[in-house]
Symmetry: C2
Subunit: 337 residues, 2 copies
C-alpha cells in the first residue's frame, strides 16, 4: 500500500523537501551534507545516494487524507514536507540519546560527525520543518495557516514529552500499561494524528472534520505500535527481518511485557536476573503465553484499530483515496492475523 502511495506522491514530496532543505542560501556545504545525509539524499561525503532510507509513511498519510477530502493533494505538499523533516529531526536526536550506531543500514549522524554536530543538525531540521510549514501559508487562509501552526507546535511538544517518558521508563522500577500508552501516544501516535489532521484540514478547511482525522491518526498510531510490540516477541523472523523475540532479549518494556509484569511474579523474577540469555528469553515467552499476554495485546490492538476505523468514518473521506485509507487499516491489521 505504501509502495503505491509512494509512487503516487513520492517524487513531488521529495522535490518539496529538497526545495526547503537543500536550497537554503549561504548554507555551508558540510552543513548541507549532514542534513542531506540524514534525509537519505547523499552519502557522508556529499555524493548522491540512491538507496531507500525512509518509507515516508507520515507525509504519505497526510497527502492521502488531504486528497480524500477534496481530491487535490498537491496543495498539501508543504505540510507533508514539514512532518517528514520533523520526523527526521527526532530520529537524529533519538539516535544520540539511545546511543544507536546504525539506522537504515548506515552509520547514524552522530557516528559520522560526532554528537555536537548531530545535535545541531537535528536542531536545524527542527527549524526547517517549521520553514517547510511556512510555505503552506500560500495555499490556505491565514486562519487555517495559524491552526496548522498550532497543531504542529502541540505535536512537537508531544514528541518531546513522549521521548522524556520513554527515557524515564528505562530507569523506572515499574511501568503501568496506562503509562505506556501515554508514552507511545506522544512518541509515536501524536505525529500520525497530526498528519491525518493537517491533511484533512488543508483539504477541507473544516476544523471539526479535521479533528475526526486526528482521532483516526492517533488510534492508528497506537494500534500500529501495539502490533510492532507483538511482532517484536512473536513475529516470524523470516518476515520481520529481526531475530525471534528480539524485544525480550533486550528486555524492552513493550505492551505484552508490561501486561505480563503487572500480572506474573514469575516474569518479574525472570526480568530481575542479572544476566539474561536465550534460556531466559524462552522462559519469558512461555510465561507470557501462559498468562495470555499475546491475546491481550491482540485485543488491545484491535480495540485501537476499531477506534481508528470509526473515527475515519466520521471524517467522511471520499473517492479512491477513501478506499485506500480503509485498505491501509486492513493491511496493517493483517500483519499480525
Amino acid at each position: 500500500m505504501f509502495e503505491m502511495l509512494y509512487k503516487r506522491y513520492g517524487s513531488a514530496l521529495d522535490n518539496e523537501m529538497r526545495r526547503i532543505v537543500a536550497s537554503q542560501p549561504n548554507q555551508p556545504p558540510d552543513f548541507g551534507t549532514m542534513l542531506g545525509y540524514s534525509l537519505g539524499w547523499v552519502d557522508a561525503e556529499g555524493a548522491p545516494y540512491h538507496q531507500a532510507t525512509g518509507k515516508r509513511i507520515r507525509p504519505l498519510l497526510l497527502l492521502l487524507c488531504a486528497e480524500s477530502t477534496d481530491g487535490n493533494w498537491h496543495s498539501a505538499l508543504p505540510a507533508a514536507a514539514a512532518v517528514e523533516i520533523l520526523h527526521n529531526f527526532s530520529l537524529i536526536h533519538d539516535d544520540i540519546q539511545d546511543d544507536s550506531p546504525i539506522r537504515h543500514n548506515r552509520p547514524t549522524v552522530w557516528k559520522v560527525w560526532g554528537t555536537a554536530n548531530a545535535i545541531n543538525a537535528g536542531d536545524a531540521l527542527f527549524t526547517l520543518a517549521y520553514s517547510a510549514l511556512e510555505g503552506q501559508t500560500a495555499s490556505v487562509t491565514p486562519q487555517v495557516a495559524l491552526e496548522l501552526w498550532r497543531i504542529f507546535n502541540h505535536t512537537a511538544l508531544e514528541l518531546t514529552r513522549g521521548q522524556h517518558l520513554d527515557m524515564r521508563f528505562e530507569h523506572q522500577a515499574s511501568v503501568t500499561v496506562d503509562e505506556y500508552i501515554e508514552m507511545i501516544s506522544g512518541k509515536t501516535a501524536a505525529l500520525l494524528a497530526a498528519c491525518a489532521q493537517m491533511g484533512g484540514l488543508i483539504g477541507s478547511g473544516d476544523s471539526t472534520r479535521a479533528a475526526h482525522f486526528a482521532e483516526f491518526g492517533l488510534n492508528l498510531g497506537i494500534a500500529f505500535q501495539m502490533q510492532d510490540d507483538i511482532l517484536g516477541i512473536w513475529g516470524d523472523p523470516g518476515v520481520t527481518g529481526k531475530s525471534a523475540a528480539t524485544d525480550i532479549l533486550s528486555r524492552k518494556k513493550s505492551f505484552p511485557v508490561l501486561f505480563g509484569l503487572e500480572r506474573s511474579e514469575r516474569l518479574q523474577a525472570i526480568y530481575r536476573r542479572e544476566s539474561f540469555g536465550d534460556a531466559d528469553v524462552k522462559e519469558s515467552v512461555a510465561e507470557l503465553d501462559a498468562i495470555g499476554a499475546q491475546e491481550a495485546a491482540y485485543q488491545s490492538e484491535q480495540h485501537y484499530y476499531q477506534l481508528a476505523s470509526a473515527a475515519l468514518d466520521r471524517a467522511h473521506p471520499r473517492g479512491d483515496s477513501a478506499k485506500w485509507l480503509r485498505q491501509l487499516i486492513e493491511e496493517l491489521f493483517k500483519r499480525t492475523h
Copy 2:
C-alpha cells in the same frame, strides 16, 4: 540600564514565561523541573530558586522596541517570552556541545541529568518557544502573526547555522575576519535583530519600520560581540570578573586574534605552539598591541555601533523608550572606552 528595564518589564515577562512553560497539562514533574531549572526558577530538586540566572536582555530589548513605537509593551509579552525561551534552548544544547559544566554558577542541565535528557529538555524549550509565540496571535492581525512566525523561523535557522560555523572554526586551520563576522551574525546578532524587529512589528504593524529595527538589532549584536572580544583580551579583570586575557589563554578565535593571525607570522607561530602558558599569553598580547589589533577592533566595534544608531534613527522610536534605546547604545559602547 538593563536593571531599570528589568524592574519595568521583568515580572510581567516572568509571569508570561511561567504560564507557557510551567503550566503544560500532563507534564511529568521531573520534566518540568529540568525546564524550570534551565530558566532559573527551581533548583535540581524542583525547589524554588531565588538567585538571578539570566539577564533577560533579549526579551527586554523586544519589549523596549515595542514600547518605543506605540507606548504599549504588554501586548508584546508572548513574543518576548518566545525569544527568551528560544535563547535558553540554545544555551542547553551549546553547553552539551561545548562540554561546559557550569552556567550561571550552577551545574549545566547535562551535568545534572545527563546528555540524553538535556538534548530533550532543549528540544522541549525549542517547541515551547513556538508555543509562546503562538500566544501572540491574539493581539495582532493574522498577517502580522504569520510574519512573526517567518521571522522566528529564519532566526532559529540562523542560530543553528552560526553554531555550525562556530564548531567548524575550532578545527579549521585558518578563519578569516569575514567568516567570523558571518558566524557571529548568526550565533549572536540574529536573535537580537529578531527581538528588535518583532518588537517593532508588534508595536507598529509596519514591516518596513520593523526592518529598520532589525538592522538596528543586528548591528548592535555584532558590535556587542566585538566589545566582548576586546574585553576578553584587554578587559580589566576587576570589572569583567574573568582572569586577564582569558580569551588568549584558551586560544579563542575572537576578532582581534583573527585580525592578528591574518597579519602577523609571529602570532601564527606562537599560536602553533603545542603547550601554551602565561608567557605565551604575554607574548601574544604584546604582538597584538604592536600590530594595532586593539585599535582595529575598536574601529570595527564603532563602525557597527554607528550602523546600529543610524538604523535606529530610521526606525523612528518615540517617547521615553526611544531615549532609553539610545542610552542603551551609549552605555554599551562606554564599556570599552
